[in-house]
């Protein structure tokens, strides 16, 4: 129970004053009008014959006063804006301020924040649970927070370089409050119908502020790398895609540079409209920074530039034991990523029966002289490792009609490769061009560090770091030691939505977290007045 217009003390004092005034009014004598008539004889007889206007005694004070007090208090409480929070156990009301990258445009964020503050001020005493949708949704203020504190915290916020997470937030809230109905007052970028459709059933989302559309926007929506299609592990392919107002405006100029060295789009292959591919970009010993900039003067600048950190070319140390085919040693020396060492290598290349060779490497590439061994056997220490080698063979085409060798992938305590010496010699004798690749990629597979992992999904939210459905609060994100997460903030949806018109905002009345009960009090007062009037007319009240 709370009051929208007055404090509880004011309401209490007002109620007491009303009761006192009504009690005093009971002692007032009515102003009578003296009427002279020809005879009062009939009136005397009528007064004697009229029904008594008291129930059992003259109750001038208690009941009449009580009835008056109830009527007056009902009106007083209605004027005080009484509202009930009785439904709080069944509903959870949340104010959600979107702090995603799209709110960086103009005064979107400040306007949304102002609207939120106004709504909070118009709904004082309510359950003010305010969340900020930044990198991870964070609770700004709980139900007990004062309005001043909430306002101060909100004014310290700025939009962050992240995508809107309202859908994920709503899903998590629904999981946390399965028995409750959740009402979210949303202040942020316009949501799409598909986002509304994905909302859980017990979540009702009310758009109180939707950011206005910008006039035009061009943006980078795809920028990432992958292993080079050529199969060269020392190179990657880079994809660049932009999108924007293709109708009525020209494509802005695009500039690319790697560690300060500019590229020209002419060196890139245009594989689709507004999509370019930089093929076989060579990795270097140190991570390279590949930057792309879109020369557009639109209002939303966040998607006009992007930077991609290319992985450094990893080095693998290889020990070559006695009896190993000479071509293997030459291959190690010729491959830039591989370094021959005399001991303590990451990979030891040995004959299967050379027990002394085993101690020289963490993992082993073994040549087997066993006549029963015809192909190549991979022992993987994990399912991921098994999958990686299978995909490698498929991508390289080694499992095609003319199979390179009989492939078998087994599980083992650590990774190892067992290659039939007979199969090797057969391939070598035939001068199969796939053999060096097989050897090199097998050595790469044996090392735990991939040469170039495919970029993380562009424009997606941070990967789930915890299985807990509880949304993370700011400062709670714990990264594994030395862990890196590749993520792009570019998103086609964000870029496209910048020019989409905002949807109709829902009136603030629907955001009210309280059950309005003052109309019922007015009805009660009217009913009691009517009942009192009837009672007086019928002589039931003095």
């Amino acid at each position: 129970m709370s009051f929208g217009l007055f404090s509880g003390v004011t309401v209490l004092l007002g109620a007491l004053a009303l009761a006192g005034v009504l009690f005093g009014l009971q002692f007032l004598r009515p102003r009578v009008k003296v009427v002279q008539v020809a005879t009062a004889l009939f009136w005397q007889q009528a007064q004697q014959q009229a029904p008594l206007r008291t129930l059992w005694q003259r109750f001038r004070y208690p009941l009449a006063w009580l009835l008056s007090v109830i009527i007056a208090l009902a009106i007083w409480l209605a004027l005080a804006g009484i509202q009930s929070s009785a439904n709080s156990s069944a509903e959870r009301h949340i104010y959600y301020l979107d702090g995603s990258v799209s709110m960086q445009v103009g005064k979107r964020f400040s306007n949304a924040r102002t609207r939120l503050i106004n709504d909070l001020e118009q709904n004082p005493g309510a359950a003010q649970e305010v969340w900020f949708g930044g990198v991870t949704p964070s609770l700004i203020a709980g139900e007990d927070a004062s309005a001043a504190l909430i306002k101060a915290r909100l004014e310290s916020l700025t939009p962050q370089s992240t995508l809107t997470a309202i859908s994920e937030f709503a899903r998590r809230m629904a999981v946390l409050n399965q028995q409750k109905s959740i009402v979210i007052a949303y202040y942020g970028m316009p949501l799409r119908a598909s986002q509304f459709a994905r909302l859980p059933q017990n979540v009702k989302l009310i758009q109180r502020f939707t950011a206005p559309a910008v006039a035009s926007n061009w943006g980078i929506v795809n920028f990432g790398y992958r292993a080079a299609a050529s199969g060269d592990p020392q190179r990657v392919d880079v994809i660049i895609e932009i999108t924007g107002d293709t109708a009525g405006s020209t494509v802005p100029e695009l500039s690319i540079d790697l560690d300060g060295t500019p590229f020209t789009l002419a060196s890139a292959e245009r594989i689709a409209d507004n999509t370019w591919l930089l093929s076989n970009l060579a990795l270097t010993d140190s991570p390279g920074k590949l930057s792309v900039r879109l020369h557009s003067d639109d209002d939303f600048a966040a998607d006009n530039s992007a930077t991609l950190t290319l992985p450094a070319m990893p080095r693998i140390t290889v020990y070559t034991g006695e009896g190993v085919p000479l071509a293997m040693s030459r291959l190690v020396n010729l491959t830039p990523r591989l370094t021959a060492v005399a001991q303590n290598a990451q990979v030891a290349v040995c004959l299967a029966e050379d027990e002394n060779c085993f101690a020289q490497g963490l993992t082993h590439f073994l040549f087997a002289k066993d006549a029963g061994q015809e192909g190549i056997v991979y022992k993987a220490d994990s399912t991921a490792a098994k999958l990686a080698i299978s995909q490698l063979w498929q991508r390289q085409g080694w499992t095609a009609e003319q199979s390179l060798a009989a492939l078998s992938v087994n599980e083992g305590e650590q990774r190892s490769v067992l290659f039939s010496l007979a199969a090797y010699e057969a391939l070598s004798k035939n001068q199969d061009r796939r053999l060096p690749g097989l050897l090199v990629h097998s050595l790469y597979w044996l090392t735990p560090v991939a040469a170039a992992s495919e970029f993380a999904a562009v424009g997606e939210p941070l990967p789930t770091l915890s299985e807990s459905p509880l949304p993370l609060s700011v400062g709670e994100m714990i990264m594994p030691e030395h862990a890196e997460i590749s993520v792009s903030l570019l998103n086609r949806t964000v870029t496209d939505s910048m020019t989409q018109p905002s949807v109709t905002e829902i009136p603030s009345a629907t955001v009210n977290t309280h059950q309005i009960i003052w109309p019922w009090l007015i009805l009660l007062a009217l009913f009691l007045v009517l009942a009192e009037w009837l009672a007086i007319v019928r002589g039931r009240l003095p």
Partner: protein, 300 residues
């Protein structure tokens, strides 16, 4: 309220009422020769009886045919029509003079109209205003020419403090006046109660005509302009006060009381063979008065 003779003495009104006639079954004998039936025997046109001749009888009344057959002398006697004494008991209490349209005005006009009728048919009229006591101001006035004098006396009627109709009727009964017609013009608001009035009236040896002066708010108090809020009803004669909340229950009770009052008055009038005219003070007198004389005359 000062009454004005000019407004009271309305020639047109009087000319119309004089066309009416007022009769009673039998007036008391002992009056002058006139037009009312009496028990007196004497001169007249309608044969009544025979009686033996005594010295002094009119020889012209001897029936010679009876004498020839019987040898005895009889004289014919006739019904003698005499005048009817009409006694006007005019209520002059304060209740008749109160209110913005006082009841006394239509009451006096009714009295004057009835007096005009009586004088026009050669009856005698007496005026006895009463308040607490009966006051005889005019007694046995005869002749049309005296109507103005009667009106002048009426116009000088003054308000008296209280009403005691019972006392007035008893006083009238004790006067042993010649039997005639008593016309009581009053609102019949007697503080002693209507039953005492009716009991006294039953002992009157006269025919009675009751003229009850009413106001619209007598039957419908809600027509009073002051009918709202808490009321203190004050009797204009006695000053007695009654606190009244004008609720439907009280109003209903009042109307029942007033209806009972009228019914009692009507029953008493019917039991005594008296006439009763309820005269609404807010309406013209003449049409209401003419309504009492259904066929142009009123026979009591």
């Amino acid at each position: 309220m000062a009454l004005n003779l000019n407004t009271l003495f309305d020639y047109e009104y009087l000319a119309q009422v004089q066309q009416l006639s007022l009769r009673i079954a039998q007036a008391g004998k002992g009056g002058r020769l006139a037009e009312q039936k009496t028990s007196a025997r004497g001169q007249g046109l309608e044969f009544a009886d025979f009686k033996p001749y005594v010295a002094g009888d009119d020889l012209r009344a001897i029936d010679w045919n009876i004498y020839r057959r019987l040898g005895r002398v009889f004289v014919r006697v006739f019904e003698e029509k005499q005048d009817m004494p009409v006694y006007f008991l005019q209520d002059a209490s304060a209740s008749m003079f109160y209110e913005t349209t006082p009841r006394i005005v239509p009451a006096l006009r009714a009295t004057l109209g009835l007096a005009a009728i009586a004088l026009a048919q050669h009856d005698s009229v007496s005026l006895m205003p009463f308040g607490r006591n009966l006051d005889i101001q005019v007694k046995g006035l005869n002749g049309k020419n005296n109507l103005l004098q009667f009106a002048r006396v009426l116009a000088e009627c003054e308000s008296q403090a209280a009403t005691s109709l019972t006392t007035a009727i008893k006083t009238l009964a004790n006067l042993n006046l010649r039997k005639g017609l008593v016309v009581i013009v009053s609102d019949f608001f007697d503080n002693d109660g209507l039953q005492k009035v009716l009991a006294a009236m039953a002992n009157l040896p006269h025919k009675v005509l009751l003229v009850q002066i009413t106001q619209p708010w007598d039957a419908q108090p809600e027509l009073m302009p002051e009918w709202q809020g808490e009321l203190q009803i004050q009797d204009c004669e006695t000053g007695a006060e009654v606190a009244v909340s004008p609720t439907p229950d009280v109003l209903k009770a009042y109307k029942q009381v007033y209806q009972q009052f009228n019914q009692d008055l009507l029953k008493a009038a019917q039991a005594q063979g008296a006439g009763l005219l309820q005269l609404d003070a807010s309406q013209p007198v003449l049409p209401q008065l003419a309504g009492l004389f259904a066929q142009g005359g009123l026979n009591l």
